[in-house]
């Protein structure tokens, strides 16, 4: 009888223990997880500040920020092809269209129509592609010239991105004298921020003037992108960026971010500059990683003067299609705490974002709205900004 009671008691104990184990786990989850005590236990960020030198100033010339001219056409084409996850090489946009319609493009078929013309006869190549592509009048491109002044006063020139439309980019290069700088090999390197059409597909325009320029691309480039570099007439060996931080010059570093991006693109590289006595300047193509992620990465990994964020230039990829999401308001609300003194935004930042930045009292540098840039709310085509 006594043994039987013990057995029953043991069974009950196990039942209670099993119930308690699950209940105790959930109770702890609820009471502790999102509490101030839980967060007080988290380790503080360890800064591992890499010294990448100092420069005196950086001047940015906006060659083109108008990646496309009609938002409805661009997003309409993406919509028709199946949305924001569709492979960009199938969208059937120039210069890689095959004439088969929305979502039915292929890199191989597209490039085969113009390969023999690259990079020496871009006018003819673009004319051919105009007949095969959707909305051939829409492409523009993103590109900027960076003039980095060293502490001894020497100036080194770099190009960030090479735009999209051969026609448009060639005219922009000529407008800003980039064609001659490339011919004279004054520009030391071309950085492609990411593989998207509007930053990369205009590569033959740069190749037309300098087909041996050192070229840096993210290691997330797809095989089509790497092939396009060859097909564009590039005669060098591209530098595949596979390190988080690559120093380019004193006070200038290339930062790599592994982020998935719309229309099957992966990864973005952006630039950071340490301006003497001023602080850190962040320059981006589209900033798909997010400007504050960019800043936070720099805060953790780079050493810069005054330990201060000084300036921003480039696309901030907030509302590129003038779309919106409440999380963008989180940025508008939070950006002020980071203390940037000069915000030179444009391109995929979106006009609405610039407007909200201005309303929030942020130091957004206004533009002149020339050369088809649509608004004075931010730096437009042909505008310049100097940090330092």
């Amino acid at each position: 009888m006594s043994t039987n009671r013990n057995n029953i008691s043991r069974r009950d104990f196990v039942k209670g223990a099993a119930t308690g184990l699950v209940a105790g786990t959930f109770a702890s989850m609820g009471m502790y997880s999102y509490s101030p005590w839980a967060y007080s236990q988290l380790p503080k960020t360890q800064r591992n500040q890499q010294d990448f030198g100092t420069c005196r100033s950086v001047r940015v010339t906006n060659i083109s920020e108008t990646s496309w001219f009609n938002n409805a056409h661009l997003i309409g084409d993406i919509h028709e092809a199946g949305g924001l996850l569709v492979n960009q090489y199938t969208l059937n946009w120039a210069p890689l269209a095959n004439g088969k319609g929305s979502g039915k493009g292929s890199y191989e078929e597209g490039i085969s129509t113009i390969k023999d013309l690259l990079p020496h006869d871009l006018e003819k190549a673009w004319e051919i592609q105009k007949k095969l592509s959707l909305h051939p009048e829409n492409p523009g491109g993103y590109s900027c010239l960076l003039e980095v002044e060293a502490l001894d006063g020497t100036v080194r020139k770099f190009l960030l991105d090479t735009g999209w439309s051969y026609e448009w980019m060639d005219s922009c290069f000529k407008r800003e004298g980039i064609d001659q700088m490339l011919r004279d090999q004054e520009i030391e390197a071309l950085f492609i921020s990411h593989e998207h059409w509007d930053h990369f597909w205009g590569l033959p325009v740069t190749m037309k003037y300098d087909n041996r320029i050192p070229l840096y691309v993210h290691d997330g480039f797809y095989k089509e992108g790497l092939q396009y570099i060859k097909d564009s007439g590039y005669k060098g060996e591209p530098v595949i960026v596979n390190k988080p931080v690559t120093q380019i010059a004193p006070g200038m570093a290339l930062l790599k971010f592994d982020v998935p991006i719309i229309n099957r693109v992966f990864g973005e590289t952006s630039l950071a500059f340490n301006i003497k006595d001023k602080g850190l300047v962040l320059v981006s193509g589209c900033n798909h990683q997010g400007i504050l992620q960019f800043a936070d990465f720099a805060f953790t990994n780079l050493k810069y003067d005054n330990d201060k964020f000084y300036g921003i230039y480039g696309g901030l990829h907030i509302s590129p299609f003038e779309d919106w999401d409440p999380k963008y308001d989180d940025l508008v609300i939070a950006l002020g705490q980071w203390g940037f003194e000069l915000i030179g935004c444009n391109h995929c930042t979106g006009h609405l974002t610039a407007k909200k930045f201005v309303e929030a009292g942020y130091p957004v540098v206004r533009g002149t709205a020339r050369f088809r840039s649509a608004s004075e709310d931010y730096l437009g085509n042909g505008d310049k900004i100097t940090f330092g």
């Binding site: 105790g24 949305g83 719309i262 798909h288 992620q293 999380k327 939070a334």
Partner: protein
């Protein structure tokens, strides 16, 4: 008690057609093949219809889930007769019931949300109205789909909750369709209230300027959640959805079914599910902070609080997949111990399997779903393929009686009585042994929790899921 006095799902017993693991293997193979074929046809960004834009596909898979729940759980398959359900071949039943659900879904989305609500109530439910105000067609459709989808997220918690936790009360004795219509209307009404206090502000700040005259902007949760995004609510609501099904399947309604008083049991179950879900929600958020570091407000993707809240819901859905699989295709294994022990083992097992599914998904999905690798992508929602897969589980088990691995047979009277024991259980009684075990179990549970949160930073630093 006879079979006609209980719902169809309660009245039947699924019996394996073959012994051993063959039925589960056959069904798994067919389900995965059907999943991939339908994914390619409807959702895949490389496929035929490409609904994964993403919000259109997201809206569709969520509303399909609701319609399946309504048809099987709330309407008890009305207007289909019990005799038709008993006699018709599972393939025909599956096709007919799925198509009826799809038709009802289209009528609801297009008829109610877009045409009625969008034309006479709230403009953002109607893409045409948004376009007329200058928004591009693509985003007009996406915004409307997002709003309709968010409504479904709430309904996917409240609708089954009313059946599972509240036991259809107080309308459990009504016949069909009166009971179904009543519960749908009541849960729809409740969903609408919850929508207004959780999601409407999110939608209102999508537009410039913030629609302050019609919604609370910035929303009241901003300080607590560190974001103005409604993803904070998606997090706990999705956890509620998952916990309802944990409670109904692998927990066999334990422990709230020990409460004998009907009203108290139902109220406790309903709010107990919410409490457990909120606990899970907070843990999953904190777990991400432990692995990836604390969030940075205003940034995007992995480090953004809004995405972390969304990912809480996504992680919870990863738990639902092995939970339903264990219940549907593994006979709710294990069943040989006492109910509390079975429940404990299943909980730990499915949680571990959820981690496995999570890792496999993020390691491989970009290879076959037409998506990209990476945890956080502004246009990717792992909930879409997971819910799509769950929908196929439901079609197979609810509409097709588990065909081809299983077949439905009528339960005997004794088996029907057993089911009643799940609703009000008496297999666990308060004793000294239980009390002692419970106390020690609670301490062990707390220790397990603290062991997990101690291990998570190490996991974050040493294990790479996506290279």
């Amino acid at each position: 008690m006879d079979n006609s006095s209980v719902s169809y799902l309660e009245s039947r017993k699924l019996v394996k057609r073959w012994s051993g693991p063959i039925p589960a293997l056959v069904n798994t193979f067919l389900i995965l093949a059907f999943f991939y074929a339908t994914w390619w046809i409807f959702q895949d960004p490389r496929g035929l219809m490409r609904m994964y834009t993403p919000y259109v596909g997201y809206m569709v898979c969520r509303w399909l889930l609701i319609l399946f729940i309504w048809l099987a759980y709330i309407f008890d398959f009305w207007p289909f007769k019990r005799s038709w359900l008993n006699k018709t071949h599972p393939l025909i039943k599956g096709a007919v019931l799925t198509l009826v659900s799809v038709a009802a879904m289209i009528i609801l989305m297009k008829g109610f949300f877009v045409e009625i609500l969008g034309n006479f109530g709230i403009a953002y439910f109607n893409p045409d109205r948004l376009m007329a105000m200058g928004i591009t067609e693509f985003y007009a459709i996406e915004y409307a789909a997002e709003a309709i989808m968010m409504f479904a997220a709430i309904a996917s918690w409240l609708s089954p909750s009313w059946v599972v936790a509240c036991e259809n009360a107080p309308w459990q004795k009504l016949g069909q369709p009166a009971r179904g219509i009543t519960i749908v209307l009541v849960t729809f009404f409740l969903s609408m209230i919850v929508y207004f206090v959780t999601m409407h502000s999110h939608m209102a700040i999508l537009f410039y300027p913030w629609q302050k005259f019609t919604a609370i902007c910035p929303p009241y949760w901003e300080e607590f959640a560190n974001t103005v995004s409604g993803n904070f609510h998606i997090a706990w609501i999705m956890c509620c959805t998952v916990v309802v099904w944990l409670y109904e399947t692998i927990w066999e309604r334990y422990p709230f079914n020990l409460i004998k008083h009907d009203g108290l049991r139902r109220v406790t179950s309903f709010f107990g599910i919410i409490a457990i879900a909120v606990a899970l929600c907070f843990f999953l958020f904190y777990a991400q902070d432990l692995v990836w570091g604390t969030t940075i407000r205003g940034t995007r993707r992995l480090m953004a609080p809004d995405w972390r809240w969304l990912h809480v819901g996504e992680m919870a859905i990863f738990w639902l997949v092995p939970t339903l699989f264990l219940n549907f295709y593994c006979n709710n294994w294990p069943t040989k111990f006492s109910r509390p022990v079975n429940v404990c083992i299943r909980t730990l097992l499915t949680a571990a399997l959820a981690v496995v599914v999570y890792v496999i998904y993020y390691k491989t999905s970009h290879l076959f779903l037409g998506t990209q690798k990476g945890f956080s992508h502004p246009q990717q929602f792992p909930m879409i393929p997971m819910i799509w897969l769950i929908n196929i589980f439901l079609i197979n088990v609810w509409f097709m009686d588990g065909w081809p691995g299983w077949k439905a047979v009528q339960k005997t009277e004794a088996e029907l009585e057993n089911h009643q024991n799940d609703v009000v259980a008496s297999d666990v009684k308060w004793t000294q042994g239980i009390a002692k075990g419970l106390g020690i179990g609670l301490v062990a549970g707390a220790l397990l929790y603290f062991a997990i949160i101690k291990a998570l930073p190490w996991v974050g630093a040493n294990i790479t899921i996506i290279k």
